[in-house]
Symmetry: C2
Subunit: 349 residues, 2 copies
DNA sequence: CTGAAAGCGCTAACAC
DNA sequence: GTGTTAGCGCTTTCAG
């Protein structure tokens, strides 16, 4: 492991001359700088960041704390962050919580021990008290989910509006028995999406029992499969289904394919997110597209700026990106007409 | 930022006593240990790993260097590593190279500057010379791709056999114009897969011009779309297609869906990898399943052991996991019979 | 059982 | 222009 001292000895100069030369200090002659850089390169010198950090330099590591990287929302975010940060010389640390607050805490402790420069976090439903304390002393940013105790720097999407729009689409088609399958209410996103669903029903003038809600683990494909199977077996089976998470959507699609359920004939479906396979599923999945990429880029740029300018930019900051409903073939009127036929019929009426 | 010194001052003991108490040194009385731990906890003390590293402690960070986390192979690997490492108190650094050797080099420099404990890398086609040097001084492990200059610690899958098996399946069905679309030959995986394809043709007794190979960027969905479009337009359009990368498969599936190509009627297709949507694509995609998860777990365990036991376990190590052909509906004889019909026919013949 | 002191690699006063 | 020195937070001799 070659150090500045090694270079100094070899060149017969002092350690600080080497340090200054490498830092391109104005007081060092060009010739010395050249010799030092030459030697450093030859000897394979790479500065020790641990030592620099002890001298007050800040880390160049930013951590991303998320439930599960296999969820494409999060891998998109990780990619976008990584790309933007690499350009600025930052490295990305990846911490998966599996939505377990104790795992989250252990990660945050490690991140703090490593004195990371910043943290971008999709918090668990109820972060541990110590997690909150740790984050208070670290530049951080919440993503998607927003927990009041973790400050007011937040980048997310308009979950309420997205679900409202998706549900309103089904209401407009004439559905009166609509089910919503999404994450638990204790997650901020889960609560917002559920509210959006209910808002649309209310605005559509539907009675309270028109909507049926099934909440559960948002990242469980299996839970999606089981729930949709149960929903369809019941006596008052819904004629339409709105999803509130990618993984649940994946489970539902698998199950519906396997059972040979006719979509949109027997059931209209609105998915969540827009995965590669969604467009070729059955008649094409009508789904809620989320601007994850844009959000992640914004988030990266904001944090980079925050970290570069030492300034205490701790002002509340909120960025809400809108989702968009992508219309394909999986939704139709309960009587079997397609959306366009319904539109025409409505126009004639 | 609270240090051991702060604790020492508050308790009126020396810094070394605090250090020893926190390290659970045998020479410190239980009472003192208790008081120190109490104070540390109250004051929110978290040890500074940078300082520890300067005293010779090793980092608890392992880096994963991959082309693109959005590729589900890599996100699965990242997840599996993360899960296994968290249990051992390690953190995961994520570095994306975008298959650019200069980006790869910049990442490796940073990783070295941060003195990471180890590196798990899916190398670019031709790593920079300095990258090779850096890796030599760092415990590392190659994943999937294997570059001779980067040592002989490698975890991967049997690409040759996987493609051989997939292609043999098509040959057995009676196809005589088979196309292979995969990554460039300069990637070790690309070369192996291509060889597997050719081996199967040869073993099937097909002439050299039976196989048509299209090599290109393995992670470009768009390239997959364009190539399949071009292939199908030609005069000698193949009757079967084997894919050699996930992203290319995604592109091909999108394009075939969009163009309404009849599968397996007009074209038999064998995909690469097994994504959620592959089972519900058209008639179900026959595809090459890769045991990525098992490989990643093995890889994590191996590296953890290697890092825990300071021992210089630098013996060559190679682990090859076998892929498996998953039969669904996208392959049939060129004359339109399904695989089972062919089997029966063959039996009768 | 506990304290004093040295030193890891680097940077930044403070000399000359 | 360059050298000397101190000190970041921690561990680890070496002394009591």
């Amino acid at each position: 492991m070659v150090t500045t001292r090694d270079i100094a000895e070899r060149l017969g100069v002092s350690i600080s001359t080497v340090g200054r030369a490498l830092a391109d200090d104005a007081r060092i002659s060009e010739e010395t700088k050249f010799r030092v850089r030459q030697a450093a390169s030859e000897m394979g010198y790479v500065g020790n960041r641990a030592a620099r950090m002890m001298r007050g330099a800040s880390s160049n590591v930013v951590a991303l704390v998320i439930p599960d990287i296999r969820n494409s929302f999060y891998s998109t975010i990780a990619h976008e962050l990584s790309k933007n940060m690499e350009a600025e010389g930052f490295q990305l640390m990846l911490s998966e919580t599996d939505d377990d607050r104790m795992v989250e805490l252990r990660h945050l402790r490690e991140l703090y021990a490593n004195r990371v420069a910043g943290v971008i976090i999709v918090p668990t439903a109820r972060p541990h008290n110590e997690s909150v304390k740790l984050l208070r002393t670290l530049p951080h940013l919440q993503l998607l989910r927003r927990h009041p105790s973790l400050g007011s720097q937040w980048f997310g999407v308009d979950d309420h509006e997205a679900l409202r729009e998706a549900t309103a689409h089904l209401v407009a088609l004439g559905h009166t028995r609509i089910a919503y399958l999404g994450g638990p209410e204790e997650l901020p996103t889960g609560a917002d999406r559920l509210r959006g669903f209910r808002t649309a029903l209310r605005e559509g003038g539907l009675p309270d029992d028109a909507g049926r809600t099934e909440l559960g683990p948002p990242s469980s494909v299996g839970h999606g499969r089981q729930t949709v199977r149960r929903l369809l077996r019941g006596p008052d089976a819904p004629t339409a289904l709105v999803l509130g998470s990618i993984q649940l959507t994946l489970g539902v699609l698998e199950e519906l394919s396997e059972q040979g359920v006719k979509v949109p004939g027997e059931l209209s479906v609105v998915g969540f997110g827009d995965e590669p396979g969604f467009s070729w599923w059955g008649p094409g999945l009508t789904t809620i597209g989320m601007p994850i990429q844009e959000m992640a880029t914004g988030c990266a740029l904001w944090l980079m700026r925050r970290l570069k300018t030492k300034a205490g930019t701790d002002d509340p900051y909120t960025s809400v990106s809108p989702g968009s409903l992508i219309l394909r073939g999986s939704t139709a009127s309960p009587d079997g007409r397609t959306p366009s036929e319904t539109a025409r019929a409505t126009a004639v009426d």
